[in-house]
């Protein structure tokens, strides 16, 4: 009964007003209305999970006086969400969590949006990409895999990924270029589905995020070959067949010179004041310090780089350039629509 009581109290606290909020009095600006956290992707995806975890953490630890509301605006590969925040001039009660579609969606669809229309707040983490193959396939190393792809006629090896002209397909094209062969890229709606298609051998390899494929790895159904980052992932806890995330070599060290990480960051509408940005930066610093956040980072083997301000903005700027080049080379730019 006591547990029920505490649960109800929590629900009440969440739904009415977080009375016991404990923010330093020095904060110059504070939300006066519920804050909307826009997710430019569907319910159940990686960004959505992260947003809802943040919402849960903020509620549980009473980090804000006003409630945080998660809203999915996934239309047009997230374009709907970006345009919504772009038009939220002078509305400090709207923030957005982004993924790579911050760059790819405007480039591929030609919608009138650029990340510079928004105000960068903070980078929360970077999501890794791993090259996965079915565990029943003979290739144990990147070299085996590359040899097999080269030996097969162009286009007969199938690569599965999430979405079209987005991060997964960009990596696929980069791999094609590095190997000098062609894949057939098959887009699916979500990362979980991609992983299952790999287990069912409907595709030959994928570039899933760790969190999307870890269950199948632990079940011995898929095998990671390499990670598309500059250094191996930091988590050395054992995951499957005596290996941990840390034991997956970088693709570069295996002769596949490609690096790609995906931004999980927070932006807010244009014309945000410094006080407002500072408020959110402080908030997310507190979120990152909670054990729940660290659990999420560990289960998804995230790269936990944290950036704010000018450093963050210049990182985003570089990434935009890179995406533009990559997408141009791949022929993914919108042809005037």
């Amino acid at each position: 009964m006591k547990r029920l009581g505490s649960c109800l109290t929590l629900a009440a606290a969440a739904s009415i007003l977080c009375l016991g909020a404990s923010l330093p009095a020095s904060a110059a600006w504070e939300p006066t209305r519920p804050v909307e956290l826009i997710v430019p992707a569907g319910t159940g995806g990686g960004a959505d999970q992260m947003a809802r975890t943040i919402q849960g953490i903020i509620t549980k630890h009473s980090l804000m006086k006003q409630p945080l509301v998660v809203i999915n605006k996934s239309g047009g590969a997230g374009g709907e969400g970006f345009l919504d925040v772009k038009s939220a001039n002078n509305n400090p009660h709207k923030i957005i969590i982004t993924l790579s579609n911050l760059f790819t969606t405007p480039l591929a669809t030609g919608i009138p949006f650029n990340w510079k229309d928004l105000t960068p707040v903070a980078m929360l983490a970077l999501d890794e990409f791993v090259l996965w193959v079915n565990a029943d396939k003979p290739y144990k190393t990147v070299k085996d895999y590359i040899d097999a792809v080269k030996a097969a006629p162009a286009g007969t090896i199938k690569m599965g990924g999430t979405g079209s002209k987005q991060e997964d397909q960009i990596i696929t094209v980069a791999v094609e270029k590095a190997i000098g062969s062609k894949f057939t890229y098959i887009p699916y709606k979500g990362g979980g589905e991609v992983a299952v298609q790999l287990v069912g051998q409907h595709v030959d390899s994928t570039v899933n995020n760790p969190i999307e494929a870890v269950a199948q790895w632990r079940g011995g159904k898929v095998r990671p070959l390499c990670v598309f980052d500059s250094k191996p992932m930091a988590y050395d806890e054992q995951v499957a067949d005596g290996k941990g995330w840390k034991d997956i070599p970088t693709c570069k060290s295996q002769g596949l010179d490609i690096e790609y990480v995906m931004l999980r960051g927070i932006f807010m509408g244009p014309k945000a004041t410094k006080d407002q940005i500072d408020y959110y930066v402080e908030l997310f610093k507190k979120v990152r310090a909670t054990p729940e956040w660290q659990d999420l980072m560990k289960s998804g083997a995230f790269n936990t780089t944290f950036m704010t301000g000018g450093e963050y903005a210049s990182w985003v700027g570089t990434e935009e350039k890179r995406h533009e080049t990559l997408m141009k080379e791949a022929g993914f730019l919108a042809q005037g629509n």
Binding site: G44, V70, G76, S299
Partner: protein, 501 residues
């Protein structure tokens, strides 16, 4: 058997007082979510997900899955009372449920819907309990080609049913396909049919179309006939429930067939929507009351509800064992599992026994609790129809507007809802069937996506749809369903000829 022992341990977990309280709370919240259009199961679970963080994982998932059951039950209520389905899989329930309500048989329709939901879910849970590991592997065999075959079968078992002129049926269905195509093309990542408008980026959500076409269209039709609502004289007491129950066993064949269809669709995982349409279509063909379907035949409520609930429940199996969600709601539940550090997948059944069997036990109990709660409320729900039209109509209109708005938080959608309402009124008056249109909106883009994914994999060869026994047999079933009336005619002719000879 080890499973049974595990299950009893699961019951012990689920029967803890705290978990029972959580269960009841979840069901009630779920019914509210299901009744309010726009707050569908997926949204509802997503919204309430953060509230469960402070609970132990087993209690939390029990609560969330009970919200899911509640929403499944609740979806039928608005479908039957106001012709407004809150979820794609309740669309087929309106076809006969709403006519029944208009004839004053709302309580019967609700009882039949709730009971068949329960039967469908129970069947699926039993299947999960007994054959989980066997069935889980089946989902792996479903690639894009197999999925397309399933959608094809759903369309085939449904078309050719309407009595309207064939070219009007075709036109209506094609309008649905065209509306489904608006927005981002998921295969090429390109925008289409948006004509540069940012409002159209999203395409047309099924819910907005359905609220307009069915809900508003119906209110306009009622206005034309004068200010009355035929359901007003509905008799309301709990004895109706018992009386309806007495009549249900004679439809055991329909129920069983719908259960099997539902489980199959849930496991594959094509989901509850094709299951409900397929089940309705097949029931109409096979039933001896087939001609009454669409005019308020109780069997037309039983078939889709049983299948939808069986599929909705069975969809949790691939979610737990493979980590692939069978429905949007399951996708959100999946996110919840990850947040609690439970990794769905092949190892979940091995490593988290207490959790898995607690959840399965809660499926039994949650559905039972849900059935009891909603059945006792049948008279209350049916009494809503007694409220005078000039009070209930503006309230429904406002709720529809809220529903349309909260799908994408866009006021443009509210305008679209009204446009669809006028279209629905005009089309209905001009004898265009609305059901194929809605079916096409709901399944159109998924079918196209699966079709094109298959062709990508086969490098353009259509042979992929007959490349193995599984996909070929589904496709052939679809073709049989499509030409069923022709085949049937042929048989009768053959029989009369042999009889004559």
């Amino acid at each position: 058997m080890e499973e049974i022992a595990n299950l009893f341990q699961g019951f012990a977990v689920a029967l803890q007082p705290f978990n029972i309280a959580v269960m009841v709370l979840g069901i009630v919240l779920g019914v509210i979510i299901g009744v309010l259009p726009g707050l569908g199961g997926a949204n509802g679970v997503a919204i309430l997900l953060p509230l469960t963080f402070s609970m132990p994982p087993t209690s939390a998932i029990i609560m969330l899955s009970c919200i899911y059951w509640g929403a499944l039950f609740g979806g039928a209520i608005t479908s039957i009372l106001f012709n407004i389905p809150g979820e794609p899989w309740s669309v087929a329930t309106t076809f006969d449920g709403y006519p029944m309500a208009q004839q004053g048989k709302a309580a019967e329709a609700l009882t039949a819907a709730f009971t068949s939901s329960f039967v469908g879910a129970l069947f699926a849970v039993v299947m999960i309990t007994l054959v989980a590991p066997l069935v889980a592997g089946f989902a792996l065999r479903f690639g894009p080609a197999e999925k397309f075959a399933v959608y094809f079968l759903a369309f085939c078992s449904f078309v050719g049913l309407s009595k309207e002129p064939p070219f009007k049926t075709i036109a209506a269905m094609m309008i649905g396909f065209a509306l489904a195509a608006v927005g981002l093309d998921s295969i090429t990542g390109q925008l289409r049919l948006t004509f540069g408008s940012t409002e159209l980026l999203n395409g047309f959500d099924f819910l907005i179309a359905v609220i307009g076409l069915f809900g508003l269209g119906e209110i306009f039709l009622t206005m034309e006939e004068g200010l009355r609502f035929q359901g007003g004289k509905a008799k309301i007491d709990l004895r109706v429930v018992l009386r309806t129950w007495m009549s249900l066993p004679q439809y055991w064949m329909t129920s069983l067939r719908s259960c099997v269809i539902g489980c199959w669709m849930g496991v594959t995982p094509a989901g509850a929507t094709p299951a409900s349409f397929m089940s309705y279509g097949i029931a109409k063909r096979v039933s001896k009351n087939g001609n009454n379907f669409g005019k308020g035949e109780i069997e037309g409520v039983i078939a889709p509800e049983t299948a939808a609930h069986a599929a909705g429940t069975a969809a949790l199996l691939p979610m737990l064992s493979l980590g692939v969600p069978g429905s949007p709601t399951a996708a959100v539940l999946l996110g919840g599992l990850l947040i609690w550090g439970l990794q769905p997948g092949p190892m979940l059944f091995v490593e988290q026994k207490e959790f898995v069997w607690g959840l399965i036990a809660s499926m039994y109990l949650g559905n039972l609790v849900g059935l009891i709660i909603v059945l006792t409320c049948v008279p209350i729900f049916a009494a809503i129809l007694r409220v005078p039209f000039s009070i209930i109509a503006p309230l429904i209109l406002v709720l529809c507007a809220i529903g349309a708005y909260s799908v994408h938080n866009s006021t443009f959608d509210v305008v679209m809802m009204l446009v669809f309402g006028i279209i629905g009124y005009a089309l209905k008056k001009c004898n265009y069937p609305l059901a194929p249109l809605v079916l096409a909106i709901v399944l159109g883009d998924k079918a196209e996506e699966a079709f094109r994914q298959s062709l990508l994999g086969s490098q353009g060869s259509l042979g992929i749809f007959f490349s193995n026994t599984l996909v070929s047999s589904i496709m052939i079933l679809g073709l049989i369903a499509l030409f069923w009336s022709v085949i049937q005619n042929g048989f009768t002719r053959l029989r009369t000829r042999t009889a004559a000879a």
